[in-house]
Subunit: 148 residues, 2 copies
DNA sequence: AATTAATACTTGCAAATTGCAAATAATATA
DNA sequence: TATATTATTTGCAATTTGCAAGTATTAATT
């Protein structure tokens, strides 16, 4: 088998670049990490601080501060859970949701553009492959355990 | 077509985690960025500072300082080019090469482990898909232009 | 019920990383 | 020679990071 690392290194680097494009929406500038946080809060159902931090494999203390920023920016709301007030639940404000939607749309436009250079058949294949890869990484012991 | 961003977001995040594992070799600790820099210097033939910075899409001033650290750590050598002494050529020291080799080996072990959860056929397919993806991104206008 | 332990989250640093603007150094052009 | 251009490096000043230690709240133990 050929050099796996080579092709993966290039791929992830390129996606990193694509990702960087995606941090301005509706006149609001956010950082890459913040966009990932918003994405994750949107995806999960009322997650706690700890949960999201684990999913993104960010140190909780760092994450705590990032959340504070996002709250200050009016994109995220933080509410103590009534049943257990140690836990704080996160969700997006209306503006936060809006930003999430815009970024998501933008990302999909970018990805579609990338896919437009392939045939129907190839597109199918690539999508299946990525899914397979995700499943394999989920099974793997060497990495990637966080995130559900 | 289904939500492209979802599967890519998960994939790149997981690879990010895998990548993070890969920064200790032979008793030397390096950061993620530094490991990418070493990888890129190794891959290119006597690249200049500017070239590597562009490839990795890192600000040159930031990159300059990272190189200084790596030189201080004895992993990278920086030599002015005789024909044009504005340009500084980078290459790995013996220890730098050693580190690069160790990390590369380690990464390939990890990747093989991930691939071990797939059939022969699937493995082939995934590899072809990643290559296709890389080619498509290279053709794309929306991202990823740096790096050759 | 009172102590102790465990969990979820937040601060206090201090170090590392970043990027812009300005500086230097070397070459190319007028 | 003077001016512009290119490659790289510093000077900040702001942001981001992670560890250790803190607070707040709930669970377990006595």
């Amino acid at each position: 088998m050929e050099n796996l690392r080579e092709i993966f290194q290039i791929m992830t680097r390129r996606f990193g670049l694509l990702d960087k494009n995606c941090c301005t929406a509706g006149g609001v500038d956010i950082s890459l990490v913040q966009s990932h946080i918003i994405y994750e809060i949107d995806r999960k159902h009322n997650p706690s601080i700890q949960q999201v931090a684990d999913s993104l494999a960010i140190d909780v203390t760092t994450f705590s501060r990032q959340v504070q920023s996002l709250v200050k920016m009016g994109l995220v709301k933080k509410t103590p859970l009534p049943e257990d007030r140690r836990i704080h639940i996160l969700n997006l404000t209306t503006e936060g949701k809006y930003i999430a939607t815009v970024i998501d749309g933008q990302m999909n436009v970018y990805l579609k553009e990338v896919f437009s250079h392939m045939s129907e058949f190839e597109q199918e294949m690539v999508i299946n492959s990525i899914k397979l890869l995700n499943e394999s990484m989920a099974k793997s012991s060497v990495c990637c355990t966080p995130l559900g």
